[in-house]
Point group: C2
Chain length 260, copies 2
DNA sequence: CGGCCAGTTGAAGCGTGTCAACCGTAGTGG
DNA sequence: CCACTACGGTTGACACGCTTCAACTGGCCG
């Protein structure tokens, strides 16, 4: 049982994107007891159908949640970065309706439901903040529903890339217009409801249109404006507070972007 | 400001599907002050992008939630029946990331966020119950994501029909294998991410295969087993407590359930 | 009566899926 | 050092599920 003082800092930062915390709340969160774990890429963290007793906070690396079909297909529900707290829903529900896998090597803090629950009872503002996290989670799923149900392949991909950019930015991973895209095209396919082959084609299409540059596992966005337009991306659903509506994208920086 | 004693009963029943309440909690919920409203079919209840200060409980009738695309398309996120509490997410988030419309004429109870919030602070078990409702909501979206992303038209429809059947059953609307399908095929299309034309074809296919009988706005399920298979439906995601796994479908009724 | 809305059906086109190669890189073991 | 394998990415040809367009029906209501 660790209680490493600053290791839970990514969690605090994440929560403060959507909620305001007092000093005491911050301290309480940071000093939550947790079990530390390291996961290799592809490792299963939560099994669909299991009854976990701990929440899982990503300290570093990437993870994703998914649901399986009887026929062996897989829908990736969301990708997650450092600071994200997963399985918050299991705090109040017993069986996990979806699984969680590490996407890259990842450091994980496991926090027991009872500890978290106790903290919620002690601090109304933390309870509110966690509730809010869960609701934002839900909002992201709603946006994904719109994405899968109403947009074509090209738009779906663009939208997903926009979301990844914003979330990685807010987690302060990478910087600016160029960032790591740690997932394989198969992951992207499972997240967008497309086939690997078609994801590949659409990615290249975005490349050859000059919207993004994609080499190796790095993605560079040449025109946020066009990527947003193509994806129909409106960051409101992320509920990250006031975001300037236009032109620039990841909540912060982004110098000179050619807008053609 | 009504405080009509039994009018909020559908809400209590709904909540008790997933949580256990004490007598005092039940009473507290039932005596929540609310503003009564009647909506005609198609009437907008919550506008996407607005900042509501009240939650909306359906006392009778049907409603649905949706998100719109810049291009004018619409994705229906979920359908709702009597007892469902909508916009619970706005309790902790400020702007509504989706809209709500009445599907049929409906009776609505509007409960102010502050009243609800106050009640949550007074009763931990009610707070838990509402939190749980929100999480189940989220779980349903996840299931829809799997549906839209991984299944073909026929399966999507079958899955949606299964879900509607279970939820209407749990709300004690209609009975047995035959029930009202109050939505138009356009609604079904917007919910499944298909076109009206194709929904029509798939519905007829299900009919001519003998799985369902569909005349007017009534749907009769001839074989739950086949409908479940086609839709890949597993009711676990509804988190409605232990559900017998086989053969029969709508969760409850049938007074003689062994070991229930 | 006329008009509108939901449903129904057919024919044609296109967006994705499927199948099947092939490439480059990294890892592994002889 | 070289086979050998495994995996992610890339590309082409073809098949098919779904969309699109368009026409027609029946019911409801002003």
């Amino acid at each position: 049982m660790h209680s490493g003082l600053l290791r839970l800092q990514p969690l605090v930062r994440k929560i403060e994107l959507a909620s305001t915390l007092g000093d005491d709340d911050r301290d309480a969160l940071r000093s939550l007891p947790f079990r530390y774990g390291h996961a290799v890429a592809g490792q299963q963290l939560v099994r669909e159908g299991s009854q976990p007793t701990e929440c899982c906070v990503i300290l570093s690396g990437y993870a994703f949640r998914y649901k399986g079909t009887f026929g062996g297909k897989r829908q990736i529900l969301s990708f997650h970065v450092a600071g994200d707290i997963l399985d918050l829903q299991q705090l109040k529900l017993s069986v996990a309706d979806h699984g969680v896998d590490a996407l890259t090597p990842a450091d994980i803090a496991w926090i027991s439901h009872s500890d978290l629950d106790r903290l919620c009872r002690r601090s109304q503002s933390i309870a509110d903040a966690l509730w809010r996290e869960a609701l934002i989670d839900s909002s992201i799923f709603r946006a994904q529903l719109l994405n899968l149900g109403q947009r074509d392949a090209r738009s779906r991909l663009a939208h997903l890339l926009c979301e990844l950019a914003v979330r990685r930015e807010s987690a302060q991973v990478g910087d600016g217009d160029e960032f790591d895209l740690p997932m394989t095209q198969e992951h992207l396919a499972d997240a967008t409801g497309l086939t690997v082959v078609h994801v590949n084609r659409m990615l290249r299409a975005l490349s050859s249109d000059g919207v993004v540059t994609h080499e190796g596992r790095t993605l560079k966005v040449n025109s946020w404006k066009r990527l947003r337009e193509i994806g129909g991306f409106d960051p409101a659903y992320l509920h990250m507070g006031p975001v300037e509506p236009v032109d620039r994208m990841p909540a912060s920086n982004c110098g000179t972007s050619p807008s053609g």
